[in-house]
Amino acid sequence: MKLRLIIALVLAFMLFGSTISAQDQVVLNVLAMDQAGMTPEDMGEIADRFEAANPGVQVELQFVLYDGLYDTIVTSVSSNPPAFDIILVDDIWYAAFADAGWVLDVSDRITPEMRDGIFEAAWDITTVNEVVYGLPFLLDQKYFYYNTTLLAEAGFDAPPRTWEQVADMSRAIQANGVEYPMIWSWAQVEAVIPDFVTLLYGNGGRFLDEDNMPAFNDATGVATLQWMVDQVNEGLINPASITSAEEDVRNVFSAGNAAFAINWLYMYNLAQDPTESQVAGEIGISLMPVFESALEAGIESSTNNGSMGFAVTAGSQKQDAAWNFLSYLTSEEIQIEFSALQLPTWETAFDDPALLEANPVTVPMFAEQFPWSHVRPKVPYYPEASRILQLAIQEALTGARSPQEALDDAAAQIIEVAQDYQ
């Protein structure tokens, strides 16, 4: 009898114990990223301050790498209530998550100060069909990097403005003894799409047309991919680009083996760090080049916007507390204070002299580049469309198919996928 009583008590405790102890506290479960941008230590510090100012609220931060973020969200968000109250969402996932009903519509919660103070382009990240699903957090885009020493040795004192100049300078730099002057992230992963978007818009092209149907296979798109293929075939681009993602680009560039590279903002600080790089102090960063014809047409630059924002899960039972924490985390003061590894989402913050003083190179570069930043398509089937295009680009780069054939086939497949979502 006693035994049964004990078992019953233990079971009862296991079932209800956790609820009893947590009743007087609101626990916010936050899924964040430990890669680029704020470090977990920064986030922990911000959470501590929020807890101190809001007794009764406890913030539980969990960090994953970018590669694991999507999988973690899609496998945890359908439970009721979801495992996380707050999730970090990449801009290319917002459309799918909104379509699935996983993220909360926060349009009515946004204050006028937020609406006016945060960059207009930053709102594009978290907005799908004019409904806002989150607060912009990490603003990033692809930047053009060059090795000042390798350029100077080949007789160049200014960075290139057009991709044609990049190719010409690469030939000179190659003649000077650099085996492959360019390195790109063109592996069969998401990393190739931002590079393609950068080149495509820099050639006056576009990814989708007004009806969200593929436009990347028009004459401009084919010419863009043809340029990529030509540079590989001529040997100006490191052949390892076909298996490289961003970190491989950083490794090659930081070893001094490439004169030109494009990458996210994080590479700047790491390439300038002598413990991480053999070319510290030789890093140049400049406005992303475009093709000559586009420059003549007034397109001065073009890059890919790769930003992220925090969203509240639609099934969360602590939506108000979650929103309060997010407002604090993305507030102007916090964003300025923790600006070493990620620049503020607030346009007004860029008027603050302290921000420029702390980041003398990246802040002006960001402001110059950001108006030319393009987001990838906001369609719910983006991940699948991306995979189709990744394969097409690989087929063209390896010569398995012509750029026209590969892109036409990809466009046809994407139209088929899109039909499932009508």
Binding site: L3, R4, I7, Y70, D71, V74, T75, S78, A96, F97, D99, A100, W102, E179, A187, Q188, V189, N238, P239, A240, I242, T243, D248, N251, V252, A255, N257, P380, Y381, P383, E384, R387, Q390, L391, Q394, E395, T398, A400
Partner: protein
């Protein structure tokens, strides 16, 4: 509970104990059903639906349509062909190398350092597959990899080679990584079997003047058959489901060159969120692995008995 309890009281207690036993087993039973039976059935059910993880409430019942469309899909068969290539080549090499190394180790028992050798050979197997993948990815790296460094110093190549750029070569290099990782497992099983082989057969063969090779072909190999069967089944099923090496080393690229069936299933399910298609693929993979195991058992037992 004292020894003088009456008959009826004992049986009553036994009944109570049986009831208690039921309650004690219940959690494990619930776990087993919950963790094995329910997901299995759910997966079968999902495979009959045009289900998307993000739109589960809008799923249409389509019965076998996923299966039919996969069986007609060139991408599916290409992936099966690549997976089969990976399986047969890697398991084949592992088996030959594994038997050779096991024989060598067992022959040289009296050699100095034999114990150390036997333990050392197991180290690659103890390394987690994810770590193995990351390590080989670094070895093959075009600009800073150890393989390029080594071959350049030996004068085999005169410039760095981007090893993983060619689809077929990428597949073969992933196989090499798998062989490095899995040979120790084969060595372990085969050496265990070698130890139990009867000495007198070898003595008799020696008296009859059989050469080493003849002894291997006519005595060792037939007696090793059960162990080889076990190795083949375990390793083939594992190799057919290879995922972590691909995930770390190539992500299915370049040009789908290493797009094995498990990675395709993962992409369909967790990237495209098409749980219906993903479930159907999982069952097709299970069918293929079952078929493999069946063929091995038939091949190896029919000859013997």
């Amino acid at each position: 509970m004292n020894a003088g309890a009456s008959q009826s009281r004992t049986s009553g207690l036994a009944f109570g104990e049986r009831r208690l036993a039921f309650w004690l087993i219940l959690p494990a039973l619930v776990l087993t059903i919950g963790l094995i039976f329910v997901p299995l059935v759910t997966t079968i059910v999902y495979s009959f639906y045009d289900a998307n993880l993000a739109r589960l409430n809008r799923a249409d019942f389509i019965l076998f349509e996923h299966y039919q469309s996969f069986l007609r899909d060139a991408a599916f068969w290409n992936s099966i062909a690549r997976t089969s290539y990976f399986t047969f080549v890697s398991v084949g090499i592992e088996l030959v190398l594994g038997i050779a190394i096991a024989l060598l180790i067992e022959q040289k028992r009296k050699l100095f350092g034999w114990r150390f050798l036997r333990v050392a050979i197991l180290i690659p197997w103890a390394v987690p597959t994810i770590v193995t993948g990351a390590m080989w990815r670094w070895i093959y790296a075009a600009d800073y990899g150890a393989l390029n460094g080594l071959l350049l110093q030996l004068g085999v190549i005169d410039r760095y080679v981007p090893w993983l750029v060619d689809p077929m070569r990428a597949m073969n290099l992933v196989i090499l990584a798998d062989v490095w990782h899995s040979v120790p497992f084969v060595v372990l099983l085969i050496s265990a079997a070698l130890v139990s082989l009867p000495e007198d057969l070898y003595e008799a063969a020696g008296i009859d003047g059989a050469s080493g090779w003849q002894r291997f072909i006519h005595i060792t190999l037939p007696l090793l058959r059960p162990a080889i069967l076990v190795v083949l089944v375990i390793r083939s099923v594992e190799a057919f489901r290879v995922f972590d090496l691909i995930y770390i080393m190539t992500r299915g690229g370049p040009v789908n060159g290493t797009m094995v069936i498990s990675y395709l299933t993962y992409q369909k399910t967790f990237s495209d969120l098409k749980v219906g298609e993903g479930s159907a693929l999982s069952f097709l993979v299970s069918a293929f692995t079952l078929f493999l195991a069946f063929v091995y058992v038939r091949l190896l037992y029919s000859k013997n008995d």
